[in-house]
């Protein structure tokens, strides 16, 4: 727990208006963490809820969380999608305990109160008492009670929700660049290949910054350089939306040159530094634009990645000031043939908790968190590529991290 709890008022003091100096205490302060839940996750932001394909039929639901708040997403009778808090209006009990299912209505196991698929209270057990005794008072009306609703939007087969009436519509929130980036990847109906959750011993922001950090990739993740893959200079860039918190970075790969490189390598003898089986990186240019890596973030807690032929949504779920759950949702597309599915599964070794170019991200935040333990004075520096949070045609930059802090400070009122 941070000493800063003893300072005046909630939140963390910033030294200046610069985006390039971040007080370390933002990762350790309990009061700051509570404020983030209110102002970011329950604030004017769009949060990933589920795949539309997970709730195809009326009554299909997914129980998830927005920040730490338990939420239900359900396909309505009219084909629309509703989302509301997973909390009975009566005594606050969880309505859905299972992660996924299909229902005609939602019923609370505690006292049998029921809700329709819009979240409207429809039934109260013993509403009129038993043998004319007890029951709810005359001033109680079921129609007055509805589960707290979230606004819902869908884009590219992904379903998002927001608690705030002030949130702009999803595409306005994302901005034209990030919207384009999302739709570039999600250009066909997706389906689930599998999911897993990585539990990380660090503040959620350390992971989100890591994803936006295009500077660290070739330094921390040595797999590709060790195996002499991607030695070619890869043109790329970063797009950041005007609010700052959404971004995507991309890099191109000369697929033909890499293929020739494999064939050449097979003839040489320095196999110690070559993969024995190239299938973990053998990729096809499925989008036809040469982009082999696109990492896209949506403030405050979602990532959409294309790393070669691996497509995944990552959801960052804060679980305390120094604990974060990262859910990996691996996707394929309905147009995939058997060879494409196998290709995605093999390349799946690149990402996730055991990912050749991802596993370090699971521990690096924990190392920072440990270093900040009882030593969280001062500021971290994010100045690579300048002090601003503008789009850039290169990736040796921390511009997207500065973009995060730009939107963070605006919404946190700092």
């Amino acid at each position: 727990m941070s000493l800063s709890q003893t300072t005046d008022g909630p939140g963390v003091a910033w030294r200046s208006n610069a985006l390039s100096e971040v007080p370390f205490r933002v990762y350790t302060d309990q009061a700051q963490y509570r404020l983030e839940q209110e102002r970011l996750f329950k604030g004017p932001t769009w949060n990933y809820l589920c795949l539309a394909a997970e709730i195809r039929n009326p009554g299909d639901y997914v129980a998830t969380t927005v920040g730490e708040v338990a939420v239900i997403v359900v396909r309505a009778a009219d084909g629309g999608i509703n989302a509301f808090v997973n909390r009975c209006v009566h005594r606050g009990n969880l309505l859905c305990l299972e992660r996924q299912g299909s229902v005609k209505e939602f019923g609370c196991i505690y006292h049998g109160w029921t809700y329709d698929l819009t979240g409207q209270l429809t039934g109260v057990a013993f509403e009129h008492g038993v043998k004319r005794q007890g029951g709810m008072p005359p001033d109680f009306h079921k129609e007055d009670h509805v589960l707290q609703r979230l606004r819902v939007a869908e884009l590219g087969g992904l379903v998002f929700g927001t608690f705030s009436p002030a949130t702009p519509d999803l595409e306005t929130f994302l901005g034209p660049d990030v919207t384009r980036g999302l739709l570039r990847v999600m250009n066909r109906p997706p389906h689930l290949l599998g999911r897993s959750t990585q539990v990380m011993p660090n503040n959620w922001k350390l992971y989100f910054e890591n994803v936006k950090d295009t500077y660290h990739a070739s330094i921390l993740h040595l797999f590709l350089t060790t195996f002499r893959i991607n030695r070619l200079s890869m043109p790329g860039g970063i797009y950041i939306d005007s609010a700052g918190g959404n971004h995507y970075s991309f890099a191109k790969l000369d697929y033909a040159a890499e293929d020739a490189d494999y064939k050449d390598a097979a003839l040489r003898s320095d196999s110690e530094f070559r993969l024995h089986d190239n299938s973990v990186v053998e990729s096809v240019d499925e989008y036809g634009d040469g982009v082999s890596v696109q990492i896209l973030t949506i403030f405050p807690g979602m990532v959409l990645q294309q790393v070669r032929n691996t497509i995944a949504v990552r959801v960052i779920r804060p679980r305390g000031v120094d604990k974060t759950e990262l859910e990996w949702i691996h996707l394929g597309f309905d147009t995939d043939d058997a060879a494409m599915t196998e290709r995605r599964l093999r390349q799946g070794n690149l990402i996730g908790a055991a990912g050749y170019i991802a596993m370090e991200d699971g521990c690096i935040g924990g190392f920072v968190q440990r270093a900040l333990q009882s030593n969280d004075d001062g500021n971290g520096l994010v100045m690579m590529g300048g002090h601003d949070a503008e789009s850039q045609p290169f990736r040796a930059s921390e511009a997207a991290i500065r973009g995060f802090w730009k939107q963070y400070r605006a919404l946190m009122g700092e």
Partner: protein, 157 residues
Amino acid sequence: MDDQAVRFGVQELIAAYADCIDEDRLEEWPDLFADPCRYLVISRSNHAAGLRQGVMYAASRGMLLDRVFAIRRANIFEPHRYRHVVGPVRVRSLDSAVATVQSSFIAVRIMHDGVTSLFATGRYLDRIDVSAPPFRFLERIVVLDSDKIDTLLAIPL
């Protein structure tokens, strides 16, 4: 080979697997598999739902060798080891070529600073080539009881 000899050989293979991982002789690990093979670490919920994406996957001995080399030379993580405890082996089917067996395991993770914690539990679902010694895994599916993995999975389970 008689039935008892095959069962003994299967148990030896399964014990050798845990031993080479826990004693940090990972270079021996790929040799326990046939080529091609199937090695998959996947959660129970994905496996039960018929989903195929796991957290670690190899379809050839070369992919296993690459995993070992990456652990040794490329990937960065805090030094740690496992201690596997593997329960009794149950033979599901057995013929002159293939034994289909399963066993339960727990894996404890011991960090370099001594912090010791329960890291994973699950089942090994194995198909083993028993046509001639040395026996080798045609397939080992490591079905993890939990969807959650603490921090990262570097060393195979």
